[in-house]
């Protein structure tokens, strides 16, 4: 408060301060906190618990960054951004990184002057139907009534999917997800469709989740990932390689439990380079040698994060699917640590 008054007084007095530096990492270190942009509340990805702490899949990646930079996963300030103000929040410097279930698209990457640095969740549009319909594939949905939000990419994807598979459907246009859900429960439409990750959440919130099944087909690409401002490549590298470290850790079998042991050095040179026992990867990033080990120790590897926040053991119950490691038929792949 006092600082603000002083600052406003300073502004009134016309004391313009120097232009901000483009070096986000040193700004963060100076501030002592990472400003991480998250959603106001998306089931499983970011939500506050009863004690006001942020929890969720995206939050874990912010925590990993906090641990990599400060050795303190709690040195993160979470700023809740709506889908409307997320990009302005990023470009004005309100947040350093946006972990906000944001789909990486051409226009956002190129036109909005944001840089997407990776994909932490491969999402896509999916379908949910009542189990009693006896349908096991979206290709059996010939003639079905679909509750669909008007004016969304979901609507367009749906039309494309049915057209390419030479099927017809009856659209029932609705205004909001809540309305769609209500109509679906009443049985006014046979199919409920939205992004697969949200679909699982909707299913989990229903009175009797087991009466509904999510069909295996995913009919669109919604790669969700972290975004930073254009033009600060050093900071971009920190975000990209911290996320990569978590993915690589899963590949190498490094877990929250054994990371301290493995960080002492072992036979696998890539693990040694990743955890800082060999080489100087941390220094190249402008961080300490054990940055990746600290991040893994704080959150666990990608698989652990997934299982703990949105995986099959949670009420959300998402399966790994596309988000399995590339070695297990998924798309999660880290560039080599060399």
């Amino acid at each position: 408060m006092r600082k603000t008054i002083l600052l406003s007084a300073a502004t009134v007095a016309g004391l313009a301060t120097g232009a901000a530096s483009a070096d986000t990492l040193s700004d963060i270190k100076e501030r002592g906190k990472l400003n991480c942009g998250v959603t106001e509340g998306t089931l499983g990805f970011s939500a506050r618990d009863a004690s006001g702490k942020h929890q969720g899949f995206d939050v874990e990646f912010c925590r990993a960054l906090g641990a990599a930079i400060f050795d303190d996963a709690d040195a993160v300030e979470y700023i809740e951004l709506s889908s409307k103000n997320r990009f302005s929040g990023l470009s004005t410097g309100l947040v350093d990184v946006l972990y906000r279930t944001t789909t990486w698209t051409f226009s956002r990457d190129v036109d909005l002057k944001t840089s997407f640095v990776g994909i932490n969740y491969y999402d896509g549009q999916g379908f949910m139907v009542p189990a009693e319909l006896g349908v096991s594939s979206a290709k059996e949905l010939e003639g079905a009534t679909v509750c669909i939000e008007t004016g969304t990419t979901t609507e367009l994807n749906l039309a494309d999917f049915f057209r390419t598979n030479n099927m017809s459907y009856e659209p029932l246009p609705v205004g909001s997800p809540t309305e769609a859900k209500a109509l679906f429960i009443e049985g006014a439409c046979d199919v409920y469709t939205t992004d697969a990750s949200a679909l699982a959440g909707v299913r989990a919130s229903l009175k009797d989740p087991s009466a509904y099944v999510i069909l295996p087909e995913v009919v669109s690409k919604e790669p969700l990932g972290p975004a930073v401002r254009h033009g600060d490549n050093a900071w971009e590298d920190v975000v990209r390689w911290t996320q990569n470290a978590l993915v690589a850790a899963e590949e190498f079998g490094i877990t929250q439990a054994n990371v301290a042991e493995l960080a002492k050095g072992g036979d696998n040179p890539e693990i040694n380079r990743l955890l800082g026992a060999e080489g100087s990867l941390g220094e190249m990033l402008g961080l300490d040698a054990d940055w990746a080990a600290r991040a893994i120790a704080a959150t666990g590897n990608y698989g652990e994060v997934f299982e703990r926040t949105i995986g099959e053991s949670t009420p959300i119950g998402l399966s790994r699917g596309l988000n399995a490691l590339w070695t297990e038929g998924g798309l999660q792949y880290s560039q080599p640590f060399r």
């Binding site: 002083l6 120097g18 506050r48 959440g201």
Partner: protein
């Protein structure tokens, strides 16, 4: 005369009115079933009302208060009620009411910080008592002045001395004005006072604050602005806007009516500019877009900038309400004041404004009510109003699927606040009534 067979010579005693025109039946006949159309209308409305209440009343009163999560609630419904229907799961309110009321900053009851907003609100009640009820002792105005500094201290925390030093500087500026106004015209002394205040805040604030800190070394845990949320945030913004907008609005209304060309044009420009733009746009521009133009190191406090904007916005609207009040006064009032030899400010203060404001009370209070509700718009700049907290609660795995319970709770609290403001304004109108009826 004799061909009359009967002439009553004594008065009949008064009789009870027919039973179907008095009591409940009489009232019903007169108000609900007086004609065919009214009867049809009454029956339709009663039927609709009944069917809504048939569902709503059990939903509310058979709801569950003791549960850990929505699925737990549903288990209890299934075991307690055989009809398979869903009732309210009030357990979510029981679990998260502290967060919705006190926000994330004070809502964790184990941390034990919740006394701060409670005390802050108590201070506000004490502070507004002399304003609301003029019969209370005038010394309470001291408490009003103190609250201006105690309230932010309790909410934002930090060291008490940094707030008190501003208070000291303001009091000092007041004395400066009093002394100066003996020697020069008031416009110059106001200007010099402002210069003194700005210089004082810039140069003297730190030493005075350090000095006070030696005597009163009280410190509270600092709360980052962004963490202030829930009803604490709404009420804080609402109170500031309500308290600060009225004087500003009066000045703007007088300015717009003034004969001074520049004052008149500036007031009109300000009012029309602010009224022409939606509040949500103003808030967004001030907190997000301004950051594009200001250097990155200038850290605009999000809550402070929202407070300033909501105040300006409300002031512009209330100024027009007051202008309506001013216009309603017969011009004879001003002429009478002139003929008594009162100067402009004396005339305004003693004759014009008391009457104009009295006429404007309903309009002013409805603006106050609407600004309190408008505080929920701060969600656009990533602040967590009660509805934002509701969204977060609904996104938690425990309570995913809850909708009505949280909104009903928030609506109830808003209604209580707004309804008491409206009752107060009616009390004030009755009290200030001078006409005979």
């Amino acid at each position: 005369m004799s061909n009359y067979e009967f002439v009553r010579t004594d008065m009949l005693p008064q009789q009870e009115p027919p039973s179907d025109t008095v009591g409940v039946i009489g009232w019903l006949r007169a108000n609900l079933f007086s004609s065919f159309y009214n009867t049809a209308l009454s029956i339709t409305v009663l039927f609709l009302l009944g069917s809504v209440l048939m569902n709503a009343v059990p939903w509310v009163f058979l709801g569950i208060w003791n549960a850990d999560s929505l699925s737990h609630c549903r288990e209890i419904f299934a075991s307690q009620y055989s009809d398979g229907r869903e009732y309210a799961c009030w357990a979510v309110v029981r679990d998260r009411w502290d967060q919705i009321i006190f926000g994330y900053s004070f809502g964790n009851l184990e941390e034990g910080l919740f006394w701060r907003p409670v005390f802050a609100l108590l201070f506000v009640f004490v502070a507004i008592t002399p304003i609301l009820f003029p019969s209370t002792p005038r010394t309470l105005y001291l408490a009003t002045f103190a609250t201006l500094f105690i309230y932010p201290w309790l909410i934002w925390g930090g060291s008490l001395s940094s707030y008190l030093s501003i208070a000291v500087l303001i009091v000092a500026a007041g004395y400066v004005y009093q002394i100066l106004s003996k020697y020069m015209i008031s416009l110059f002394s106001i200007g010099l006072m402002l210069v003194f205040l700005i210089l004082g805040l810039w140069l003297l604030n730190a030493p005075i604050s350090a000095l006070i800190h030696l005597i009163l070394p009280f410190e509270l845990q600092s709360i980052p602005s962004r963490e202030i949320s829930g009803f604490v945030l709404s009420i804080t913004i609402g109170i500031v806007a309500i308290v600060a907008s009225l004087p500003l609005a009066i000045l703007l209304a007088l300015g717009r009516q003034s004969d001074l060309f520049i004052v008149k044009k500036l007031s009109t420009l300000f009012i029309e500019l602010i009224r022409g733009v939606p509040l949500i746009t103003l808030i967004f521009v001030a907190t997000v877009l301004l950051k594009y133009f200001l250097p990155k190191s200038v850290n605009l406090d999000p809550v402070l900038s929202v407070m300033i904007l909501v105040t300006l916005f409300t002031a512009a609207y209330i100024a027009e309400v007051i202008r309506g009040g001013l216009a309603a006064l017969p011009s004879g009032q001003k002429e009478a004041a002139d003929s008594l030899g009162l100067n402009y400010w004396q005339a305004q203060r003693l004759i014009i404004l008391p009457q104009a404001l009295k006429i404007s009370i309903p309009g002013i209070v409805s603006n106050f009510i609407s600004v309190l509700k408008d505080t929920t718009l701060v969600s656009i700049v990533a602040l967590n109003d009660p509805l934002g907290i509701a969204t977060a609660v609904r996104s938690h795995t425990d309570w995913n699927g809850i909708v009505w319970e949280l909104y009903a709770f928030i609506a109830l609290i808003f209604w209580l606040m707004c309804f008491s403001m409206s009752r107060y304004s009616m009390y004030l109108e009755r009290k200030l009534r001078t006409d005979h009826h």
